[in-house]
Amino acid sequence: MTGPQEVDTAALRARYPDVFDRPASARLAMPAMIVAAFAILVYGLVDLDFSPSRFFNGLSQLGWISLMMIPPDPGSSLPIYLKALGETLSIALLGTTLAAVFALPVSLLAARNVIPSQILRFPVRRFLDSIRGVDTLIWALVWINVVGLGPFAGVLAIAVSDFGAFGKLFSEAIEGADQKQVEGIRASGGSPLHEIRFGLLPQVLPVIAGQVLYFIESNTRSATIIGIVGAGGIGLQLAEQIRVLEWQKVSFLILMILVAVAAIDFISGKLRFAIIGRRAVA
């Protein structure tokens, strides 16, 4: 009888030494990484004052807060909230559009196939990276200093921080474009501007449109929070109601945000597929 248990282990061991006797370094690597990760976690918990008593106190507080949130109730401020939500959507739409309009020419400067010179591209790219490295909330604070409190500062904040992201994404889309069309235009005597207009842009515009729509979606989310620092929209209402502990209004506002984001997701998803077909957008 030959069952699976009668396999000649010794022969197998001789034939595949790596499977049976992995070198100690390979076997220890995984546990060592886990131990290190865990050690940093413990250090972090201690350093960040994670005392169990504080944690459970907070949890019971949180339980009370959640109970007080039920049922969600806007009180008499529903019109104000609807207006704030409209403000948020406006901020997202305008900010994203502005960012896209300004990012398109700059992204051409950052694309390898448009500007071959590394020296010219490098500063443009680092410039875009620096803008991206600063969070939208920080930009909002800066713009509040310039144009004052209100949704306009929010529009400018979203526009600037998305400018950095778009510049990078667009230039990647442009670098992914087919060079043959460009060469064709050049062969027929087109100027560099013609090459971009007729060779590159028709290829990349659908991709870019998809990315812009996707960002309008994600910016609806960002726009809901920049109000926390005073840059308009529903975040302003939310932060205020949290500060005065009006929990029923808070839960109503959160519900409003969830519904609005879901609606925007749905609409722009449909639009995106209509424009570029069922292609994944990074």
Partner: protein, 294 residues
């Protein structure tokens, strides 16, 4: 010269031409309609967002001069002429940055652990029951859609001021975001090993442990690293609402008009984000090969 292209008879050509013109015209109309609708939406949004170009043009100088001011020391010199004076608080700022990194590390790890536990229930192919999948998916969606800083605002009231609120807010947000991504990886996993293990009479838990997890860990780790990158940025502003980290210093500097401090703190944040981006990118490349560099 002879014409190589055969030309259709006049009548046939006219019909085709008309059809072509009609198709082009229809496309142009649709494009025009799209542009008009978009422009109308923009105008509406401009009114809604109280856009005031006059304010912008009047104060645009402020924007430029703001950068002029944050790059000027109290003594009136440019900041880079006296780096020691510019970065005077570097010890404190580095400590706060360290706190920011710890907040995002601990938050990401806790979030990834929860996402790991939940994602098998959310994936189409491994979830034990449809109702459970529905519940877990809605939970993850909720955690993902409510912005992290809103959680932070609420947690600051529940847990008190300090990094604990920031960590928990980041953990919850990461659970939502990673849970979705993880379950998508699981849905792409090969189900044949699962069938093989189930045929030996193994429980659901063993099926996950021995058939699914070995296939998906690399993808999990890659996404978790990416999330860590994002969370560092997020943690840098958690301090705005009192949830710890460098944001607290920054908001004080901005509100109190300590101009050169603003640029110094921003510089340290940008440099840190760069370093983290490069390091995690390198780590992802080394651990999972080139294709994992998303």
């Amino acid at each position: 010269m002879t014409v190589a292209v055969s030309i259709l008879p006049e009548q046939q050509l006219a019909v085709l031409n008309a059809a072509y013109r009609q198709a082009v015209a229809r496309r142009r109309w649709r494009l025009l309609l799209g542009i008009v609708v978009f422009a109308a939406a923009l105008v509406l949004a401009a009114v809604g967002a109280e856009v005031n170009l006059r304010t912008l043009f009047t104060y645009f100088g402020n924007f430029l001069s703001y950068f002029d001011r944050i790059f000027t020391l109290d003594s009136g010199q440019r900041v880079w002429t006296d780096v020691g004076e510019w970065l005077w608080g570097w010890r404190k700022w580095l400590r706060m940055l360290g706190e920011t990194l710890l907040i995002s590390y601990v938050g990401t790890l806790i979030g990834a652990t929860f996402a790991f536990c939940l994602n098998f229930f959310a994936a189409e192919n491994t979830s034990p029951a449809p109702w459970l999948r529905f519940v877990v998916r809605r939970l993850l969606e909720f955690a993902r859609t409510v912005p992290g800083i809103v959680f932070a605002l609420i947690f600051v009231i529940a847990f008190g001021l300090g990094p604990m609120a920031g960590v928990l807010a980041i953990a919850i947000h990461s659970t939502g975001a990673l849970g979705k991504l993880f379950s998508e990886i699981v849905e792409n996993a090969d189900m044949k090993p699962v069938e093989g293990i189930r045929s030996t009479g193994a429980s659901w838990l063993s099926c996950m442990r021995f058939a699914v997890v070995p296939q998906v860990t690399a993808g999990y780790a890659s996404y978790a690293l990416l999330r860590f990158e994002i969370n560092v940025r997020e943690a840098s502003v958690m301090g705005f609402v009192g949830a710890g980290g460098i944001g607290q210093e920054l908001v004080v500097a901005i509100r109190k008009f300590y101009y050169s401090d603003v640029s110094a703190i921003l510089l340290t944040i940008i440099v840190t984000v760069f370093i983290i981006d490069i390091t995690t990118g390198w780590l992802r490349g080394r651990l999972f090969g080139k294709e994992a560099r998303t």
